[in-house]
Symmetry: C2
Subunit: 387 residues, 2 copies
């Protein structure tokens, strides 16, 4: 998720929605892929729309790295901005809440209500910090599965998510092939390239180099704000594209036409990045950034589910797929989507693939696009009519 879309958001939301919570693993510990475990796992979630009698209209939206459960509408009518995917989720929108019951939950490891490193460890009564166990994309999916069980839902009409959310979509399809009727992985990959790992690693280094990070135990002290802001700036560059940055900023100066000859932000792109970094530290936890980027780097569908064969990884899948990539996304380029489509097709899965011509880079999946709306709307109609 990115702040980049703010100015493009229409604000025509679904109205007031509510953050809800579900806690599990209170009597037994949740086993994690690392071999570690976690107890009292809380999931913050939001639902929009109405569950039908057959419970056949469930859509699960999976958020990206820095997202949260608040996907649409407003918590309070005075809120300045609606949920992060309000342009897509709502009455009559691409994901139509008049037709579907849409659920979005905050991933574990995050910091917006679900259990993560900034949560209180009930065993110590202190924040976990870096004593928080490593969580994988698979663990995130298992926590979502616990929520779905709790809601007594047996079948999901469609899973939709971009970026790290798309990884969760793919992981769901592979883990629970009988539960998932269809899936839309957007602007995502089945495993990070060395380039994507490299950017995440440098961002993590920036956080860990901040003396306030203090090995992850900073919750009663100053936070590693500088490090987290730099990490966010690095991330932001990878969400944009050469073309979008040229169109949006070019070499425009912030305040004046003459060069300042100092090290302050003077090009607009510098000021924009610093602004993004500074906004981010108000709402996000540095340790969560470390844990979630690591989970994304670890994600390897073929390695974890197919003995390094992507074809094998998808072999038990039954879902119908709509795979979408964006031409200017250089973080998860189209060739990576094509690899997954090829592997799906080798399993005779019903796959549609679309590369959307977009200049906005990886962030394109969060930006207003009639093309994207129509693709998602059409796909959901086709799978819901089949059901």
């Amino acid at each position: 998720m990115s702040e980049y879309i703010e100015q493009n958001q229409t604000g025509t939301g679904i109205g007031k929605v509510e953050k809800q919570f579900f806690t599990f693993a209170t009597h037994h510990r949740m086993k994690l892929e690392s071999g570690d475990s976690l107890s009292h796992v809380t999931i913050a979630y939001e639902t929009c729309g109405t569950l039908n009698k057959n419970k056949s209209n469930v859509i699960l939206v999976l958020h990206a790295l820095s997202g949260d459960s608040h996907m649409a509408g407003y918590y309070d009518f005075e809120d300045a901005k609606p949920g992060w995917w309000d342009i897509m989720v709502g009455p009559g929108k691409g994901i139509d809440t008049d037709r579907y019951f849409v659920i979005c939950s905050n991933i574990i490891g995050s910091c917006a209500g679900s259990t993560g490193p900034s949560s209180i460890n009930l065993e110590t009564n202190k924040e976990y910090g870096t004593s928080f166990p490593f969580v994988t994309i698979g663990d995130m999916v298992e926590a979502q599965k616990a929520l779905i069980n709790h809601l007594n839902i047996k079948s999901i009409l469609s899973l939709i998510g971009g970026s790290v959310g798309g990884m969760q979509v793919l992981e769901w399809c592979v883990r629970y092939p009988d539960m998932v009727q269809s899936a839309i992985p957007l602007a995502t990959t089945t495993r990070h390239s060395a380039l994507a790992i490299a950017f995440n690693e440098v961002a993590r280094q920036a956080i860990m180099a901040d003396p306030n990070w203090n090995q992850g135990h900073y919750y009663s002290e100053k936070k590693p704000d500088m490090g987290l802001a730099i990490a966010r700036m690095i991330g932001h560059i990878t969400y944009l594209s050469d073309e979008s940055m040229r169109l949006k900023f070019g070499r425009k100066l912030q305040n004046k036409s003459a060069l300042s000859f100092n090290f302050g932000a003077e090009f607009q792109v510098e000021s924009y990045l610093q602004h993004q970094g500074n906004k981010f530290i108000e709402r996000f936890d540095a340790n969560s950034f470390l844990y979630i980027t690591k989970a994304a780097d670890y994600f390897d569908l073929a390695g974890q589910h197919g003995s390094n064969s992507l074809v094998k990884a998808f072999s038990k899948c039954k879902s119908k797929f709509l795979v979408i990539s964006f031409t200017s996304d250089w973080l998860y380029p189209t060739y990576q989507s094509k690899e997954m489509v090829k592997a799906m097709k080798k399993n005779d899965l019903d796959v549609s693939f679309c590369e959307i011509d977009a200049q906005w880079g990886h962030d394109a999946f969060l930006l207003p696009s009639d093309r994207l709306d129509n693709l998602i709307r059409g796909f959901l109609r086709s799978v819901s009519n089949e059901g």
Copy 2:
């Protein structure tokens, strides 16, 4: 310049060479483009080959961001590695020291012998730190011009440089059209894109966020090593390419086949970047990194010499050009080289352009390539035969 090429260097150097020094502006101050000035400006330089009677065989090599004057051969025969462009400069090589007198000087603002922020300010007897004035690509060229005057050279057969070195090549041609017979700007641009500025800015932020940076006054204290290492890691990613990183690292783990579930470097690409960062802090000054990246961001040939018209900026040029770009260079993509070629051609300049098919990204200009060797060799022969 990059350490990336080390393992590919042949080491068949020109033999022992010597670092020389020239100091000017001892009686008057050197005026800088910022309006500031500088006195006692020292230039460290190296020459290879022999100046002919007519002084008609002079080649000036301009180094990139983190380079130095030591372009070829060894300072000492026990040196582990030769100068940074030893694969190109030497007897019988692309830039043939049996034929040409080749000069390379360390840019001002840098830290390898030429005056920069880590130099002693004779007026205070302390290192300049951030009291060092801002220097531009134009100022770097003026300092080189002072050296060329000192060597009593009136005409340069060819200017050759990649990346920030290529910016100096272009600036020379525009400032001293009568002195420059030919020029080879490699993997460069006439002005940074917003993307290139963004990466430089985040790298600078990483340095300035390091508490040891201390507003640039750290020379008698701990240096901002963590910040500089992170800055270098960011830079390194931009010198490579998605393809080269996939081929070189992919998702290979450093030590073992199982995931470590900790925040240490475990993917090879992480360990490589950390290694590059750690090596860099031993040889480079953090303030120099700030000043030189800022000079590169400020560089704008059209803005500074053509009232925003690149055609106008080149209007007084007389040099013959060979412009070279590399397919996988996403820092200074081919379209940027094409823009300069187009503007040169509109001035009826004699321009050859070649986009070399290379998977190694921006760094390709420093890597062994028969194609690059032959292009440079052939071009230099043609211009020297004309002379």
